[in-house]
């Protein structure tokens, strides 16, 4: 029962915050609503018994990416101009609604093979074995830091004064 209440609460908060991000005129308030949306997603991860991912979500998204985005808003003086829509607002809305309709139709009409096994808890050590253990994901784990290094170097080169 508690899981249901938590899911509905977090889902409503997350959808409301995400809608506020795209509907609010003030960019800074939109960024604050984005943080609320990230926190709601972290709560959704907890209801899915993904405790490690919830902690990582709070650390990376709420801690790092939102700070980066707020820094970007502060460094570009676009707060006064707000967040207007372009002239494709109605087609974009139609595309989004159409996408939602098609995906929801496909999801509801698919017979998912639900496994009746209870989920693994806690997931941290199991995830570590999946990432670094035998037959694991060691090659992607090795590629990810290269990607991060390239991203760091690229962003430094892009914002450097000529």
């Amino acid at each position: 029962m508690g899981l249901e209440i938590a899911f509905w609460l977090l889902a409503i908060v997350g959808i409301a915050a995400a809608s506020a991000v795209v509907l609010l005129r003030n960019v800074f308030r939109a960024a604050l609503c984005l943080i609320l949306c990230f926190l709601a997603v972290a709560g959704i991860f907890i209801t899915l018994s993904a405790d490690f991912l919830a902690a990582v979500q709070v650390l990376i998204y709420v801690g790092a990416i939102s700070i980066l985005i707020i820094l970007g808003i502060m460094l570009t003086r676009e707060v006064q101009r707000g967040s207007p829509t372009n002239r494709l607002r109605v087609p974009a809305f139609l595309v989004a609604i159409l996408f939602l309709g098609v995906v929801a139709f496909a999801l509801v009409n698919t017979q998912w093979q639900i496994a009746g096994i209870p989920p693994q808890e806690p997931t941290t050590s199991a995830l570590g074995f999946r990432l670094f253990g035998k037959d694991g994901f060691i090659l992607p784990v090795e590629i990810a830091p290269i990607l991060l290094l390239v991203a760091i170097l690229g962003s430094i080169v892009l914002v450097r004064e000529k």
């Binding site: 991860f45 991912l53 985005i69 101009r81």
Partner: protein
């Protein structure tokens, strides 16, 4: 009614649609970046829900979600750096006015 896989997938689809609308319809480049982050979060919810309900012992979806987070962090850093560079040279981050590569 008990919460099942479909509830999480519908939630993920709704969040993805909101992000899609924001990415298509907004003019401020930073708001477009924020909408893309919402879309990536929606995909993460779908991944973790599949992992929880279909292969609870394998955790493959959670591993994919970790890699999505890595790529999202790199994307946010590079995207904001590009926005900074454009703002420095053109004094605007309005996506409709950034038309250097348009023909």
């Amino acid at each position: 009614m008990a919460i099942g896989l479909q509830h999480y997938l519908i939630l993920s689809a709704i969040l993805f649609s909101i992000g899609l609308y924001g990415a298509l319809a907004k003019r401020n480049a930073i708001v477009i970046l924020m909408s893309i982050e919402i879309m990536l979060n929606a995909v993460n919810i779908a991944m973790v829900a599949f992992s929880r309900y279909i292969v609870p012992q394998l955790l493959t979806g959670q591993v994919f979600a970790i890699f999505i987070m890595v790529v999202a962090a790199a994307e946010a850093a590079v995207g904001l750096a590009i926005i900074m560079a454009i703002y420095r040279s053109r004094e605007t981050i309005d996506a409709t006015e950034i038309n250097l590569m348009k023909w």
